[in-house]
Symmetry: C2
Subunit: 585 residues, 2 copies
């Protein structure tokens, strides 16, 4: 085990190693690798990676190459721009270094990483790039890649996530995807899919491009549609500025430029998860109980503790304290934390608690004010957080119990789950309160709400209800027609909205068996199963990136030709060529 | 290396081991595992596997489990039914054994197989099942699964490829997908995708089903849409017969029942490929030169040696000798042979020779007689053969040289390739004939024909031209408008129909560099790259099966949790539980 793998394993096990668990919370004042300049309507994000700023020891971040730490900052910046800077309509991505925009993911980091770390790293970076495209599409914050030097590998993929790519024309700067010829792996952040499906590069040229380590620049890069324009260095600065101004004028959100953003205050979080069989991660609205013996994380999302305000202006007043936004930020952070730091907790048990009516009240406020920039941002942020759940390689089991509030936006958690159990009736022995659980003498109800009818699409472009009833339009219509009606377990099961509806007598055994069984299966096979079932029906660029491309990359990462002692990834930079098993599979 | 792996490696290297290379040619008289009964309009295919009839030593085919040899016979039967028995409108799949329909792929065979063998085996079985669906859709030969006993794993997946599934209701017969709970892998022949996307099983029920090793039978199997009906054993025979008659009446090809089929005579083939650096596989119209030093197979398809007959009746008279059919059978067999027996030949170089006009003449005859059952069958067979090429994990490079006939149907070979080179002008030094190549003083021309405009769709539902110009409707229209016009290298390059158009001076170097470079890359990364680029744009059930599901399965097959000494696949049947690394990836 390399030093690097050991350090990541320590991080990934949440053990009290030197660096402890990975923390995804940051803010601009703490950035080491990015500079954020706000000059409305344009923001400039400048990548200037600190070579010695790697997240774990064992590599230097040369040539503006990145590791998870660099991407955590990018992710934070993309999020903050949407909430804190609604006046921004164009985000220019550029480099603070001469001659190089970004060399992609750090090879030494990848070569020394455990398989799971690589895969999880790629997942997060993919989500961040999808988030940039989401900002361009849904916030009118259009991303512009200003490649003032070579963009290779993940560096070019970062540019591909932008809506317009400019490359400096200086006879040396190129774009390239050198992963295959140099490393024996594929581009890990959607490059192959975006080249053909987004930029419409012809597939034979795309093939040639992806085997050409030295890349393509100048006129040919434009001709093949790899970039949108090349610009001579002498007029670079003013041309980029001009293009940014033009794009800003075309942004559909020009109207909101006058409004003030809200502050994303630091997220309060208690993490008591190092060592021991049981741990806990808790926030104001979200709690996870980590049960290492059962290999589960029991996640509870609490509904709002007051009715939704009546006026959209109150959302702005409450800001980061507004329940849907506060809850979403916590859930998002928790997903990232558990995915990265707790890989052995293979099943996440999802619960909610609170008032279904109040949840629906907040949904109503948000969805009926979709033209308010902040309401719009909150809905899209919750949408992205649910998507993060969809691509999480953990089994998801929803437990719908008395006192829960699986209604509207929170019902999505049950619809995202691989299976759901809804108690028919009440817990007899808890009716009077058994000390560990509050006494809830009323059976659980779920409610299909407006939020379930299309406002929170999955990566495949469908609502979770549509995905659930894929090809069964009658079942879908019947369920949608019951929107607004509280449904008990029998009705929910009949409508196909929950998987099983055991009563108090069977509940404990059925739920325990389901989680124990899940813990006994091959974790890899479960990952493959869930990745297939969660995205039935149509495909989009996004599902292709997470489903098709990721799966191939996982396979390749695992093969001796890449990851073995004599594989390309391990031999890169040693001067020795990889020794391949030439059999095609 | 297990005995099994050694035997397969020997087979896969084409070495003169005891069993020699795998041969895909067979005929009903030689079947060991299937019985084919023809009672027009119904054919019955009865699976009755010979336990001692495994293709390689090392396992017994118990419980009607299958290996490649069993599937080669099924593939042959499905093909013959289409050509030799146009009077058949329903094909009933059933079992010759009591209590068991089929237990799926033989576990011991899988557990002992090399990774590449498993993947290639799954690819062929997938193609055969897709071929059954193609027969149901395009030949009006509707497949009916009559499960007279339990269908588990690949056995149930075989049923899923049928259009109607009947299960005997005897309190013990079930359908199941026990791969995940028992073996730690996924169903390998499209099961997960077909359960949700074809049979519309709700995804949470599908999840439960795929983790339940004991399967589902009776009423619940119907309720969840896993089967179409359950039938009590006492009325089984007559109910199946009745359903077959009903389906036959609904077959859109009822009209053709009176016509006589043609005979698929044994394919003449010379295989001189054992040992040595250079080998050759040759047929009447197709030749492959195997260059083990360069890791290439140089495939040449010869065009027709006479003009197409004028009358559709002549197709029937010529039968298996009719050029398009004869050529397709040979190409199909060659693809299977090279894929299975020559895994180290990583690049296939595709050439044609002959008259473009004659090829277009045959295309015209076939496509203008699409209502003739035989013409229809030939076009669909060629379509399936091209699809086999699309999912082949070999780099495909088309060389368009003087004397070639890349027109219409044969142009598809160049469009299927990852890259194409078209010589601008002629070979100066060969103009007068240099002995090794015929003297061709006329530059090559390609012709877009009617066959390129939709008659030969890829698995994604698009023509290869549409896939090539994915998202570029202007490029597509411009190319399609030139249909029928011979295009020289400059015009073809300008239209985006070929990748590169070097002249005589550069040709040799460019082509050599491309193939040498390809041979130097990671074979795994190339497989992943090509699987992504060849299917740009939309997805179908078929591309999901080959792209998404296969990739996940490949990854899982490669993981220690499945394939390691302590993995589930290796430990199955030993009484020991698998020892899993519990980290989720």
């Amino acid at each position: 085990m390399s030093q690097l793998t050991a350090a990541q394993d320590a991080a990934a096990s949440g053990a009290a190693a030197d660096q402890g668990p990975i923390d995804f919370r940051t803010e601009p004042e703490h950035y080491r690798h990015w500079r954020l300049a706000i000059e409305p309507p344009v923001a400039t994000l400048t990548l200037d990676v600190a070579e010695d700023g790697g997240l774990v020891p064992g590599y230097e971040l040369k040539l503006n190459s990145y590791d998870l730490g660099v991407d955590i900052e990018l992710h934070d910046a993309v999020q903050r721009l949407r909430f804190e800077h609604p006046e921004i309509r164009v985000v220019v991505l550029t480099s603070g270094k001469d001659k190089i925009f970004c060399a992609g993911a750090n090879i030494k980091m990848l070569a020394g990483s455990a398989h799971g770390w690589k895969v999880n790293f790629c997942k997060f970076t993919n989500e961040t790039r999808n988030g940039m495209e989401d900002a361009s599409s849904n916030s009118g914050q259009i991303y512009l890649a200003a490649l003032n030097g070579t963009a290779s590998g993940g560096g070019y993929e970062l540019a591909l996530a932008c809506e317009h790519i400019m490359l400096v024309d200086d006879r040396s700067s190129v774009v390239s995807l050198p992963e295959l010829p140099l490393l024996g792996v594929l581009p890990g952040t959607g490059g192959l899919t975006r080249v053909t499906d987004k930029r419409r590069v012809r597939r034979d040229l795309a093939d040639y491009f992806a085997t050409r380590a030295e890349g393509v620049g100048g006129r040919k890069a434009v001709q093949w549609r790899l970039v949108d324009e090349v610009v001579p260095r002498p007029v670079w600065v003013e041309t980029v500025a001009g293009r940014a101004t033009e794009l800003a004028a075309r942004s559909r959100c020009a109207a909101r430029s006058a409004e003030a953003g809200i502050q994303l205050n630091p997220l309060a979080k208690k993490r008591n998860a190092a060592g021991g069989v049981v741990g806990e991660i808790s926030y104001r609205w979200v709690t996870a109980r980590l049960n290492r013996e059962a290999s589960t994380a029991e996640i509870t999302v609490r509904g709002p503790d007051a009715d939704a305000p009546e006026d959209v202006a109150d959302i702005h007043v409450q800001g980061a304290g507004f329940w849907p936004l506060a809850m979403t930020r916590e859930l998002d952070d928790l997903i990232l934390d558990l995915r990265t730091n707790e890989p052995e907790l293979g099943t996440w048990v999802l619960r909610t608690s609170g008032s279904p009516e109040r949840v629906l009240g907040y949904d109503e406020l948000l969805l009926s004010n979709a033209d308010d920039w902040l309401a719009n941002e909150i809905v899209h942020y919750y949408k992205r957080t649910l998507k993060r759940l969809d691509v999480t390689s953990r089994s998801l089991i929803a437990l719908i119990e008395p006192g829960s509030c699986f209604a509207g936006s929170l019902l999505e958690l049950a619809l995202a789950a691989d299976r759901s159990f809804m108690l028919a009736g009440i817990f007899d022995d808890r009716a009077a309160g058994d000390g560990s659980q509050p006494a809830v003498p009323v059976p659980a109800m779920i409610v299909v709400g407006t939020a379930n009818l299309g406002a929170l699409p999955m990566g495949n472009g469908l609502s979770r209800l549509q995905s659930r009833f894929c090809g069964d339009s009658e079942g879908l219509t019947t369920a949608e027609e019951r929107a607004g009606v509280p449904l008990d377990a029998a009705a929910a099961e009949e409508l196909g909205l929950v998987t099983f509806a055991p009563d108090d007598i069977d509940w404990e055994d059925e739920v325990r068996l389901a989680t124990e069984e899940r813990a006994s299966f091959s974790p890899d096979a479960l990952t493959g199963l869930e990745a297939n079932y969660r995205f039935a029906g149509p495909e989009t660029m996004e599902t292709k990136i997470f489903g098709r491309l990721t799966a191939w990359q996982n396979w390749i990462f695992n093969r001796p030709n890449a990851a073995g002692q004599d594989g390309a990834l391990r031999r890169y930079g040693t001067g020795q060529r990889a020794d391949f098993d030439r059999k095609r599979v």
